[in-house]
Amino acid sequence: MSKDNSPVKLWRFHGGVQPPERKALANTTPIRTLPLPKVLYIPLRQHIGMSGSLCVQQGERVLRGQALTEPGVYGGLPIHAPTSGLVGEVVEHPSNHPSQIPEPALTLIPDGEHQAIEFQGLANPTALSSLELIQHLHHAGIAGLGGAGFPTAQKLTLARTIELLIINGVECEPYIVSDDRLMREHAATIIRGVVLLQHILQHQQQAPEAVIAVEDNKPEAVAALTAALGNEHPNIRLQVIPTLYPSGGEKQLIQVLTGKQVPARGYPADLGILMQNVGTAFAIATAIDQGQPLMERVVTLTGEAFQQPGTAWVLLGTPIQHLLECGALEPSAQQRIIVGGPMMGYTVADPRTPIIKTTNCILAPNTVELPAAGAESPCIRCGMCEQVCPASLLPQQLLWLAKAKDHPGLAKHNLADCIECGACAYVCPSEIPLVHYYRKAKAEVREEKIEQQQSEIARLRFEARQERLEREKQERLERHKQAAKAREKALAERAKQAAATPDSTPTAATGKTSADPIQAAIARAKAKRAAQQAQAEPSTNEAAELDPQKARVAAAIARAKAKRAEQQQQAEPSNASAAEPVELDPQKARVAAAVARAKAKRAAMAAESATTDDNNPKPAGDPNKP
């Protein structure tokens, strides 16, 4: 079909900015292979969703490509050993996240041999069903390498009828050239990945059309892809789009290519469109054809502070420290290390932070190219932010609402549609870090929602419990009533029998067995006990009726006191008797020890409360007392 220079209509999204590209810093040298780092910190979770469950032991030697976690009950994405070495322990390691909150990471000490398992590619993937291929991709641990790192298998499973597959090679953010270099050097593998994706997504024997989108500032990548495409793939189109930030955003690129807008809170799949990054297409091809799981990715090392900037294949879990050494960083005072690009990236404070599946760039700028932000000035209502917002939002309005914590107002102004591209903050003459305010506001809205859900659950549970207690109380009362009735009946019968006995006694005494008087005695005793209980019951009921709440509480306290006193009396002898079987059974001994501990504590508490009783009339209700 059509190639890059054929007249195809392109659309424009609202706004956008054109920051200096600075891509020449790193895109002139081929992708390097780095020496092995001394230690790898492999986070168990490197993407959205749950982590898998660990399947290797500490001290075990693993080979490159061996699975370290497997999809557990929650179907998390597995991770694989990027090199051979010894498995260390799982440590809490600073996460590759703006918060740097420690998360569990597996340490792996490379042995330097880089010995791999035997990779088994799928011989004839087009003969397999989509489901089998998707499962294979899941076990290869492939997550989207472009942005948020959504598990690819999940994305493909969720996709409904897809009519258009977009391969995102736009890479619009300044400095970053990972995809650029990958397209230049591995165009054929990327095309192979696209063909496989088309096969997975085919619907009723009909593969979706694929478009590879590349910005016009990457002529070498376009040339490489054109050469690799040849004339063999009529269903794959290469589309060059004008350079404009952020046209690499999912929603923006869809608008540029199709003119359609993804609905708010919707997905591209709603429009029959699926988007994958070129890096993901490459990983899919290597996973299916060569059987290699996702173990490394291309990372751009750039910024003036690097003496040897460029791109490199980096093993997942490599500490950033190692990359700084490999790129010969010459740090200036207060050197910033940014993960990602200058527009959307975040500063990391700890150089031990590992590279994960979603890390595409390490930027170490000097203070001339990226000066530290100046002081924030008040908003002058110039409206420039509104003109560049690619999501057609009103950034000023959002700023004020975010400062006022007006969450309903933020929702009305569609804060959730903000893609955090940073275009508004880039043009702001007052140097207001607008995106920071939006991120904070988004987090607050999210927290509020979670808290509300949790309190709703707590309320339901509390009410269910109250209902249960009430029901149990009613049942208990009912049982007591029935028992009392039964006793009354038995008593009445007994009385009737007693009235009848004078006549039958002589015959029974002579005619029946000797067991009869014993039974009669037992029955008498029972009747007596029943009568006593029946007497006791109404008396407590009466007391309860006089002042139900107080009387019940008083009765409960009295009962508890009596019980405790009894237990304290018993404590000594039971302790002594418990001492005997101690040596017989260690299990029982532990139980006995626990009991003894509890009793000792309780005795101590009782003693304490007894002493405080003199000073304080009601110490039991004091919540501050330990």
């Binding site: 200096p20 909150i101 527009m343 870090p433 995106v435 987090a443 309320r459 626990a594 009991v595």
Partner: protein, 210 residues
């Protein structure tokens, strides 16, 4: 005669209106006070009883009847503000007599010390503790409201209240807490320097200046 007609007319009218009002009372009956429901929704539902009422709903009822709105420490200032907006009363600072606002905590049972006495289970207002007599008990951390009510009854003091650690998914973009560090490629451990100004570490502020 005329006054007799007047009495009859008024009596008939009274009957008619009485019937209408009676019908309306049944037809448009409100099950419970809607204000109580609204207040109950704002309260944090920890059911901790720190306000002096046995649960959040009783306190909501009390507020509807004129009780102070500043007796809920788990809700803190935010809840007081919302209650003030709803009830039209003045927002007061939290009444320290009922406790102070604290970070969210959940209970944790040191399981090897638990003797299985069931006392904490009876105390838990949201049934977040599982266990049986003489069996180890444990807490469903996701359901625990951090109300503290299980700590007091434990005879062996094996329940701790542990602050909930922030996860990356629920981080509040609090960049103030991140110290700026000097990166030295020859040194593994970063050297901490003075804390940054609020937005110096802000990612979006790292703009390319032409």
């Amino acid at each position: 005669m005329i006054w007799f007609i007047g009495i009859i007319t008024l009596a008939v009218m009274a009957l008619v209106f009485g019937l209408i009002l009676g019908f309306a009372a049944i037809r448009f009956k409100v099950e419970s006070d809607p204000l109580v429901d609204q207040i109950d929704e704002i309260l944090p539902q920890t059911q901790c009883g720190q306000c002096g009422y046995p649960g959040c709903r009783p306190y909501a009822e009390a507020i509807a009847n004129g009780e102070d709105i500043n007796k809920c420490p788990p809700g803190g200032e935010a809840t007081i503000q919302k209650l003030a907006d709803l009830t039209g009363r003045e927002a007061k600072p939290l009444d320290a007599a009922h406790g102070v606002e604290d970070v969210k905590k959940v209970a944790f049972i040191r399981e090897d010390e638990c003797i299985g006495c069931m006392k904490c289970i009876q105390a838990c207002p949201v049934d977040a503790i599982i266990g049986a007599t003489r069996q180890m008990h444990t807490i469903i951390a996701d359901e625990c409201t951090g109300c503290d009510l299980c700590v007091e009854p434990c005879p062996v003091d094996c329940i701790d209240m542990i602050p909930v650690a922030t996860k990356t998914e629920r981080w509040r973009w609090d960049l103030h807490s991140i110290p700026v560090t000097m990166v030295n490629p020859t040194e593994v451990n970063p050297v901490e320097v003075t804390p940054a100004k609020p937005h110096e570490t802000t990612p979006s502020s790292t703009q390319v200046k032409p």
